[in-house]
Amino acid sequence: MSLESKIAKWFESRLGLKATVLRPVPEYSFNPFYWLGALTVIAFLMQAFTGLLMLIYYVPATDQAYSSTVYIIKTVPLGWLIETVHLYGAYAMILLASLHMFRGYFVSVQKKPREMMWVTGMLMGLVVLGFGLTGYLLPWTVVSKSATDVSIGMLSFLPAQIGSVLTFLLAGTGSNVAELSRFFDLHIVVLPAGLLVLLALKMYMFEVHGAAEPSTGPKPSKEVPWFPRVYLYFAMIGSVFVAAVLLASALFPVSLSAEFSPQAASGYVPQPEWYFLSLYQVLKFASFEGEGIYYALGGVTVILALFVLLPFIDRGTKRDAASRPFYTTIGLILIAELATLTVWGYFTPGQVIPDLQALVIIVGVALVIAIMTALTYRMRNKMRGLPIGKLGLRFMALPLRHRTITAMFVGLLVIGSVSMAGLVRSLAAGSIGFAAPFLNFIVLVSSFCFMARILRNLTLRQRGTLL
C-alpha cells in the first residue's frame, strides 16, 4: 500500500470522517449556490484569523482604542492589510449570509425536515449582525461611536424592564468605558461562542439531512466521494473568495475617520453601517418619530418573527419557486425594499422622511415588483417544465435581443422616474398647486402602463423559441 493511503487509512480508522463529514455528496451539489453557507464559514475563519492578529496590538480602553487602531494601520507591517481584510471580510460575511438565506428561501429549504435548520440559521444571522454592531464601535472613531450611540439610544424605547436590562448588558452604567469594554467582550468572546455553538448544531443537522435536493424535484444522481472532487471544488471556490477579498483589500485599504470626541461628534450626522441602513431608514419616517418609534420597532419585530418562523407559516408541500408564486413574490419584494431603503438612506442622512413620500416609495416598489413577478408567472404557466432560474435568466437576456424596444423601455423608465421624482417632491414640499403633481402623476401612470405592455408583448411574442 502506498504511503498516502496508509496515512489516510490511519486517520480514517480513528476519526471515521468518511461516514460523517466527508460523506459522498450528490452530483447536484456542484453548484455555487449549495456552498454559500460554507463560504460564510470561510469568511468567519478569515475574521477570526485577522481578528486574533489585531488582538495583539489593539487596546480596548477609551483613551487607547483609536491610537492602537492607528498603530495597527500605520506602524505594524501588513497591519493595514489585516484591518482592511477584517472590514471587507465582515461585509462579505454579512452579504454571503444574506445570499445563503435568500437562496434557501427561494428554493424552500425550510420545509420538512429542515425547519430547525432554518430557525438556527436565522439566529446565526442575528449573531452575525451583532458582530457587525459590536465590532464597528471598537476603533472609537467619530463615525462609529455616533452610530453606536444611536443604536443604544433606541434601547431606551423598549418597555422599561427589558430596556433597562438590555442597556445594562450592552452599555453598562452608561459610561463610555463600560460600553467599550462590554462591546469588546461581546465581540471576541460571547458572540463567537454563540456562533460556534449554533454552527455546530447546524452542521450536525446538515449531516443528518444532507444538502437539500433541487427544488424542481429530486434528481436521481450518483453520490460523489469527497476526495478528490468535492474537496477540490470547495478548495477552488474558497480560494477564489479569499483572493477576491484580499485583492479588494490590497487595492482599496481602509482609512479611519477622526477619533471620537464630543466636539467632533456634535458636527456629524450619525449613520449606521450599510447593513443596518434599511432599518434605520424606516425609523426616519415622520410617523415613527417620538412616540411612533414603538410602531416601527414593533413592525420590524413582527416581520422578523414571521421570517424566523417561516417554516411553520408556509405549510405548502411544493418546494419549487414556480409553484409558490405568493412566497416568491414576497421574497422578491423584501429584497427590493431592502435595497431601496439602503440606497435611499445613504442619500438622506439625518433627514426625517415625510410620510407620504415614504408611503409612495414603499408601496411603489412593492407594486412594481409584484406586477413584474405576476407577468413572469403568467408567462411561465404557458411554458411548463422550465425552471424559474433559467426563465429569469432568459428574461434578463431579452433586452439584448430586442434593442429598439429596450431603448423605448429605458426611455419610458427615465420619463417615469423623473415624473415620480417630481410628484414626490411636490408632495413633500406641500402642494404647490394642483397642476404640477397631477401632470406628473399622469405621466408616471402612462409610462408605467406602456412599460407593462412592452414587457407583456416581449414575453408573449415568441413563446416557445425565446423563452
Binding site: P77, L78, L81, Y233, S239, A243, A250
Partner: protein, 90 residues
C-alpha cells in the same frame, strides 16, 4: 485521442505548482516593511493559482475543463503579477 488530451493536464499542473512554490517562497523572503501592497496582491494571486490547480483536477476528464474559465484565471493571475511588479518597482 483521449490519452493525448489527459497528458496535457500534467505539464500544466506542474507549471502551476512551480508557480505556487515560487510565490510562497518569495512571500516568506520579501522585505515586509517596504513591500506590503505587493504582499497582498501576491497572496491573492497565489490563491487564484491554487484555485486554477484545484479546478484543473476537479473535473473527471480534461475535456470537461472549461477552457474559458481556465483562461480567465490565467489572465487574472497575469494581471495580478503585473500589478505586483508595478507596485514593487514603484
Amino acid at each position: 485521442m483521449k490519452v493525448d488530451q489527459e497528458v496535457v493536464k500534467y505539464p500544466v499542473g506542474w507549471v502551476l505548482v512551480i508557480l505556487l512554490i515560487t510565490i510562497a517562497v518569495y512571500l516568506w523572503l520579501l522585505d515586509l516593511f517596504s513591500m506590503q501592497r505587493v504582499f497582498g496582491v501576491l497572496l491573492a494571486s497565489e490563491l487564484v493559482v491554487f484555485a486554477m490547480l484545484a479546478y484543473l483536477y476537479s473535473k473527471p476528464s480534461f475535456s470537461k475543463v472549461s477552457k474559458s474559465w481556465f483562461l480567465a484565471g490565467a489572465i487574472s493571475v497575469a494581471v495580478f503579477l503585473f500589478l505586483a511588479l508595478t507596485l514593487a518597482t514603484q
